[in-house]
Symmetry: C2
Subunit: 213 residues, 2 copies
């Protein structure tokens, strides 16, 4: 049975919250405490923890290091997962810097750009190649996960090349729907749309507030 997307997202979030707790010296956590930080119900936390094979004690809650380990066994590959980045612009560079050393199980191993001034060098520990080398590098290195951070017009072509070269999961920052075969998973992050939504609803809430006062 395929694990639902939302479960995977919550487990990833729990883990980061738990690591932060552990780093502050917290050894045990109750489901309602983790639920509050994650913005879900305590019952949801308990169900998710059963998915990874953990149960808490009524008196002390869950053991934090044990939870972190079990979530890792469930979510992570045995070996570090090699990730490619296409598009070394503002978003792409931020992703390289952000992920450098942060998640040992996700390693950005190759970046690609069509701008020659950005290629044939190492940025944040990641080698940048000309875009023409994308198919061969992805294929040679067996890369299965890629981030697409190119303009909307280029995103579909880039995705097509990546999928043909063996990529099975795409994180897409381009503001366009990428079409992929059924055996490929796509997750979209669109910061402009998100910020425009925030600005729109912030205004509506102001208007609403004024109208009722």
């Amino acid at each position: 049975m395929m694990t639902p997307e939302r479960t995977v997202g919550r487990l990833s979030l729990y883990r980061r919250l738990l690591v932060a707790m552990r780093n502050r010296g917290t050894r045990h956590v109750f489901s309602h405490e983790l639920a509050s930080a994650a913005g879900v119900t305590a019952a949801q936390v308990r169900r998710d923890m059963m998915t990874v094979g953990c149960s808490g004690s009524p008196a002390r809650g869950y053991d934090v290091p044990e939870l972190i380990e079990h979530i890792g066994l469930f979510l992570d590959a045995d070996e570090p997962e090699a990730v490619a980045l296409v598009g070394v612009g503002n978003i792409g560079r931020a992703m390289m810097a952000y992920f450098e050393g942060r998640r040992p199980k996700l390693k950005m191993v190759a970046a690609f750009d069509q701008d020659g001034s950005k290629t044939n060098r190492v940025v944040h520990g990641c080698r940048c190649y000309p875009i023409e080398d994308m198919a061969s590098v992805v294929d040679d290195r067996g890369i299965r996960v890629a981030m697409v951070a190119v303009p909307a017009e280029a995103a579909q072509d880039v995705a097509d090349v990546l999928v043909r070269a063996g990529v099975r999961g795409l994180l897409n920052f381009a503001p366009v729907a990428i079409r992929v075969p059924e055996h490929v998973y796509v997750e979209d992050i669109d910061v402009t749309t998100s910020l425009e939504k925030v600005a729109f609803f912030a205004r509506q809430k102001r208007a609403h507030k004024v109208s009722v006062s």
Copy 2:
């Protein structure tokens, strides 16, 4: 009546796709063409366009510049919206660079950080202030929209200060659920969770593929 979140998100995406089409010299577009680029149905596009008061012609489709204008009248404030950024790390700096001059209706006017080496200077056209000045600057300038790009542990405190100072919409990059009063809108972007999901499902799809072959 409150416009649904998804409608606002789609309108924002349509606009970016339409601007790209206009820049390539496209004058008219059929609903099914815009639908294909946005990853929705043609019927959905037609409904959304009715929301902004546009109808297409059966023979030629929609007028691209007219659509862009109508979506702008619907989505944008009359005046540019001032946006604050809290946290001038990798993600925060990328957002400053990304939004610089990109959306004339969303202007990043102030950034805040607790690291003194990042403050009292101008980065990507945006003044960076010490975190202690956040409440007064947000209040003085009437800022109603903010991006939160601080570590998870600091996000709730930052949000509390912003909301007390008058912020009504938050774009949250911290991997934690922020609690806000009902009159505040929050949108979350969590790149680590998104990438972990992509890696997880890319692996599942591989496993599935192997098991059926």
